[in-house]
Symmetry: C2
Subunit: 242 residues, 2 copies
């Protein structure tokens, strides 16, 4: 039975980290909310999943992965679950924990990138928090983005198996998430990320290698990849790029 | 060999979620940065751990747990590692993943509580972002805090093993983290959290039970428990409590 991914249909968002893992592994999955309501899919199916009163382990929010009877939310927890099944993580507990630690740190970077356009709160429009957003974005561009990218560069530089992957000598879900983080930063902050990435050549090179992985490349060319837009986590507001 | 916990010595912060797990299990540990520099501890030892150039798996930030040769960062990853070792999580993969999913959701709530006093950025003082903080706190009080507490109430209400614990019929690290979240919200937002917690009696009752667990109670009375203060995640700024 294919995996079911439940995520908002119009954006990459946090669901994209799960999509990339499923796509890179060639795993069969249904992107439920993007299907037709007449086929029992679409947003109604997503809402039913979120609001299912019979679920004794209810998700707080999307993304949600359904694998048979299992219903798993929280991006990092989904990747923790999928990693071994999709062969996107090493076999040892130590490698799995380190890969997860990197994922959680990338998730922090993603949260902080989101915070640049919604520093006051997610329930308000960007237009209602623009002055706050300009200040938050300046902090992110000058302090946080270089720090996160610099840490990823160090992780690559110190990997005893070489700097082609974050963990060991094989592709992991952390590599895929690094790709998505860089892709998002380049979209949202083309100028600031360009400056920062000049100092992290290993990060940039890994981003390129992931983009060229056969299945990832096919996915990125397909209609399954939703283009970046100003409803997602990474938004191109030129006034926030300094 | 006792575990080593590395965290900033003056605040509970994210380190507290790890401390509570170690304390509730009665596990031997050293709170490194709170020791004496003359004994090879204190903040110099913490900084050495963070900056150790020979570490091929460097932490991005505190808290860091050292267990022999293993160096693990990210609060949720540390708890994922400690859970089985401290018997603070169920034995099955399903229970472990669900406990982790709850932990990650509590971590999101903690991040958003922190954001109320630092919406623009962590590198600036609260005093330099007060207008932004007032708006962010209003959002948090009215929207996010009730939503997170309501979800935890639902998790308790739907637990097939009863509403005394978040997962199964035994204490898990998620219960301890719920305790800390409630404790922090009550400190930072005494009025708003009072209103919200009236609607979540199961959350409140679990908070009380955790506080009365023998080892936790002894810890809370001890000097090892750092009092809340205005350098931590949960800060009492009356103007942010509505």
């Amino acid at each position: 039975m294919p995996y079911q991914l439940h995520y908002w249909p119009g954006i990459q968002g946090r669901g994209e980290f799960v999509r990339l893992a499923l796509e890179a592994a060639g795993a069969p999955y249904v992107d439920v909310a993007r299907g037709e309501a007449s086929a029992g899919q679409g947003v109604p199916a997503l809402l039913q999943c979120l609001q299912d009163a019979s679920n004794t382990r209810p998700p707080f929010a999307c993304p949600v992965l359904v694998d048979g009877k299992k219903v798993i939310a929280q991006t990092a927890a989904i990747l923790l679950y999928l990693g071994p099944r999709l062969k996107l993580v090493g076999a040892s507990e130590t490698d799995r924990l380190w890969t997860h630690q990197i994922q959680l740190t990338i998730a922090d970077a993603v949260d902080q990138a989101h915070n640049t356009h919604h520093p006051v709160g997610s329930s308000l429009y960007y237009e209602d928090q623009k002055p706050e957003a300009e200040r938050a974005a300046k902090e992110f561009r000058s302090q946080r983005m270089p720090k996160f990218l610099g840490w990823l560069e160090t992780v690559l530089a110190r990997n005893p198996k070489g700097d082609r992957h974050l963990v060991g000598a094989r592709l992991s879900y952390a590599d895929l998430s690094l790709f998505q983080l860089v892709e998002g930063l380049r979209y949202a902050f083309p100028r600031a990320s360009g400056r920062a990435l000049k100092k992290t050549p290993r990060v940039l090179a890994l981003h390129e290698r992931v983009a060229q992985q056969r299945r990832v490349a096919a996915y990125l060319r397909s209609e399954r990849r939703i283009p970046f837009n100003e409803d997602g986590i990474f938004r191109r507001y030129p006034e926030l790029d300094g």
